[in-house]
Symmetry: C2
Subunit: 324 residues, 2 copies
Amino acid sequence: MSPMLAGDQKLDSVPMQEPPRHFADDLVARLRQLGHPLCVGFDPFLERLPPLFRRGSMQPSDPQTAAAVEAFFDAVLDRLEGRVAVVKPQIAFFEALGSGGIAVLERLSAKARGLGLCVLLDAKRGDIGSTAEGYARAYLAPGAPLEVDAITLNPYLGIETLAPFVQKAQDHGRGLFVLTRTSNPGSADFQDRLLGTSETPLFEAVAASLAADAAALCGSQTGWSSLGVVVGATQPESAQRVREALPNSLFLVPGYGSQGAGARESLRGFRPGPAGLEGGIVNSSRAILYPDAAFTKETKAWEAAFDTALDRAITELGEAVAAG
Amino acid sequence: MSPMLAGDQKLDSVPMQEPPRHFADDLVARLRQLGHPLCVGFDPFLERLPPLFRRGSMQPSDPQTAAAVEAFFDAVLDRLEGRVAVVKPQIAFFEALGSGGIAVLERLSAKARGLGLCVLLDAKRGDIGSTAEGYARAYLAPGAPLEVDAITLNPYLGIETLAPFVQKAQDHGRGLFVLTRTSNPGSADFQDRLLGTSETPLFEAVAASLAADAAALCGSQTGWSSLGVVVGATQPESAQRVREALPNSLFLVPGYGSQGAGARESLRGFRPGPAGLEGGIVNSSRAILYPDAAFTKETKAWEAAFDTALDRAITELGEAVAAG
């Protein structure tokens, strides 16, 4: 990958009148305004959808199910506007609803971006050559049917396979979050294996391999890079090792809330900035989308329950950010 | 993962009158009949689609593009019926066409299965917990909108993350192909890294970790397992090492044809069976879908060009199988 070449191409392909966007600069500026790094995950668990939004059998094969999911996240987006910087749809759950589910995700992503929310697609894609190009085009090309601002990627097939995504990040101001150390118990199977006679586990080698691209994608405003990484909040030491390898990469931290990590733990690897700790986003899905009190048929009661869960996460993370 | 438990659940959930399907038994029986292991990859490269099928601008955002792709693979399926056992759609290229592309893939998969072709979805999915469940349900559950017979998986997140797919393979006779050593140049970045002080590269550790599940998914007719692996044809020594770790796993071998590996090389890791060498499927996409002679507007000329390319691959692989 040649950052110089990519930079030249960018100058050619972006119209002069349009200010060049930078994913990390834009996101970090917004996070500083808001004072918290909360990212709300969109995981449509059909059996947990509040009764207010349920329709038909709620089976994946029922066409009404996709409509119910759309109505729910449509209402969620209205409540998130101006409160959070970023939402993270988990595409697996939309894929489970077939092409109708993907159509819903297309409309929700467009609405979210229209509301000024950054859309980070949790797709964990990874493939070779022309197929990687296909995925990069599918999600990061301007005008793509399911255009988003950033995507999660799986590095198992090698650093070269990330190149089409890095190119799109350069050309169109997109963001990437590459899996390093995930938060699930089995992540140790391979990610923690020490390489050769070194003390370097695989996840750290992955992080180190990203350093050149990450440096090339640093923003001029904040210094943060549009090539970020996924680092499980349940792994504090891992976070420190990844941070050393990638000083300017934003972290996507899953595992806050229902997966058991607290707010302060989730900020390991963050560092002091002008508005408190910064350096990533912290995801919560279930604790915000499906609190017990939101299991209601009453609009006002649902709104109140949703806002309470959202406020709790925002306050908790905001306090941890401010405490430094 | 408990194979005993999975077995009990299967007895409960499958109606007694329906003979239980087994992916590997069914596929290997069909491969023996046909005398070759060719799998035809469905990679819709928009710029290479024969003029006979092109419509509109052929840009991803043009609604006519999905229709063109559908018309092309519809005609391809008609020519493949009875000639090959399995087709492998690469979902990335359908995702690049948005929900309309996924709808096309749903219809093509249903048609292929109706014609008696096995559909192996090349999706390389891998995620944790409930998300892995979501992917397994999306593609391997009976009645799913995009129901297929088998899927490719990425192991980076750990063996535990494969469990929902193994369960679906048990319950519904599906097949799995887990990435071990891929055929791209950058695959060495991580897959070839030696672990600890051993001589074991990562891809071999991945293979070894699959052994218990692979053994539990062996078929009673052929002895082959429904838990297969992806092993690049450009890596003959890797094929041997994976075969030693997984004696009964079917190989999905990419890289035959346009990626440079010959027929005999593609069969490394296969072994003698009742109808010649067996033990996997060998994929070819571009060499069959887009030979120069198929770039025509004439139906008869396209059919002849397609058949010629298909026959060449079948003959070449059939001879290598028979030569043993």
